[in-house]
Symmetry: C2
Subunit: 320 residues, 2 copies
Amino acid sequence: MTNIRKIAEMAQVSPSTVSRVLNGYAYVSKEKEEAVWKAINETKYRKNINAVHLRKGKTFLIGVVIPFTNHPYFGQLIEGISEMAIEHHYNLVLFQTNYHEKKEIEALNMLKHKQIDALLICSRTSPLKTIKEYLDYGQIVLCEDTKEESISSTFVDHYQAFTMALSYLHKNGHTKIGYCIGRRSGANSQKRERAYKDFMQRKNGILREDHIFEDCLYFEDGEHVVKQIMEMEDSPTALLVTSDQVAAGILVSCENKQLSVPDDLALIGFDNQPISKMMKITTIEMNLIKIGRNLFLQAIDGQVEMKKEIAVQLIRRGTV
Amino acid sequence: MTNIRKIAEMAQVSPSTVSRVLNGYAYVSKEKEEAVWKAINETKYRKNINAVHLRKGKTFLIGVVIPFTNHPYFGQLIEGISEMAIEHHYNLVLFQTNYHEKKEIEALNMLKHKQIDALLICSRTSPLKTIKEYLDYGQIVLCEDTKEESISSTFVDHYQAFTMALSYLHKNGHTKIGYCIGRRSGANSQKRERAYKDFMQRKNGILREDHIFEDCLYFEDGEHVVKQIMEMEDSPTALLVTSDQVAAGILVSCENKQLSVPDDLALIGFDNQPISKMMKITTIEMNLIKIGRNLFLQAIDGQVEMKKEIAVQLIRRGTV
DNA sequence: GCTTGCGTTGAAACGCGTTTCATAAATTAT
DNA sequence: ATAATTTATGAAACGCGTTTCAACGCAAGC
């Protein structure tokens, strides 16, 4: 295996100069630079990345914790993250947790053992207390409002976003509003629940536990929601659906059941995924790619704003 | 930062002995071993993984090339891969290509620059010729039959699987059979097309280009297929659907359009995904997790059988 | 009593790119 | 013309765990 010293010898320069050429530093004469490149090309030299990592004390790996890879919400998040990763010559190590705390701890331990430089948790299961114990070992970034906590984060104001969506429905004459969500226990979900309950109480809307639909993650989950609604006595006239996929599923299911959208049931999706545009679903854009990008930048650079809120936007289309 | 030499000093032994303790080698006396552990615990020593990588000449990273992360086919494949990766203390670097060749080349170049030890290509876009140029730089494993080629692979016999499924439909009285596929250009897709055309010709079945439905990847794509079929004059009475997701979408769509399955339209899905069990869809099990596991093993170990075929199995349920 | 061999241990080499420090030469500033 | 920079380059140190080689001690074998 040819190394930098051999190149140096061939080009009649010192290893330092080879390194300088390789990394594009100034202060190398044209002749020597050319000699070095010539030797590099002749030998097909490739630098040993592990030596670089050792010297720099970094692995250039960022861990990314997500519950599922097969959901477009996380798909977009990863897209943003990965875009920045490429730009900064980092690689990503994915940890799919399926919301098992054990998997999350595994990722945290990778950070502890310096297998990764930083950890990005897109959706967590373990308590903040646990996560904080690992802060000494490297940067950890969350995707939720960490307010007074000392943990970096990029997030949207889910309380405000939900309130905005609810107001919009209310203005359109709805008082019986329900919502669909993936799981109720997440930090962001709790914020949404708080917003929902506060709003419904404030506006004297009808607040019923069975107007909250759990386990709504995929397209096919929409059908189940419609079925439940149709069997319900006092069913909601509008739904906040925290995933455009599910909103699309609900929409299709409604069409098939001769339920008119928005007349019988109004819908607001979330994320502004391609499918919502295709199916003309009114939605809340979260700019997940932007969130992803910022998450990454926080992970590699302590300088970046420690807590960054990303604005959301109501996109009016045809389902309200 | 405390390192192995400091531990050695504290425990009054040599660095070699510390290394031996750390790696669980025999031939270390109890007293010294205990002394070493004591020092390790006191200092909260964590070993520098980059030094290990440098010394061992490996990164313990395996690249995985997939077109999309958000499809359960690849989700299961990754599950198998990742299971083995954990067991063998490797990490995965995901390259999502969206079928862009450029992205695939990026991954191949990572191998060239020794950023990853091996590359696992689950679905490729670039020609075999290109891939072969990178074989010198590390192990590359494909997920398709590489027959006479000198590239490792784990695969299923798609020709045989398709033929089996077609036979089953034929035996059940179908001659007008169509099929749904993601893209037609992939190596595996071409095998399937070959099988389809051969079979239809052999059995004098009706072979029409418009009985081949492209771009069928997700649940929602099923609706489009049903729509097309209903508008068709001489529509197929049975479909091979190369993804259970799509088969489920078709099934739902049929129900809504008062089409009876299997009487009006018979369906055979692929992959035996959870959804097919839930919805009682007859399917071809591919054992993707097993494939994933084997792909990984081939990537890290030249010893493992170079080409491995994984058997498929027809799972009879309610849609034929 | 001497050879053989296993158990145990440490010194030193190894993998290799980066970076600091010192020095020399060439410019520019005063 | 002299001092102060800037440019250019190399030697050596550095990061650090692993592994090989040699050696020593002690026990078993002849």
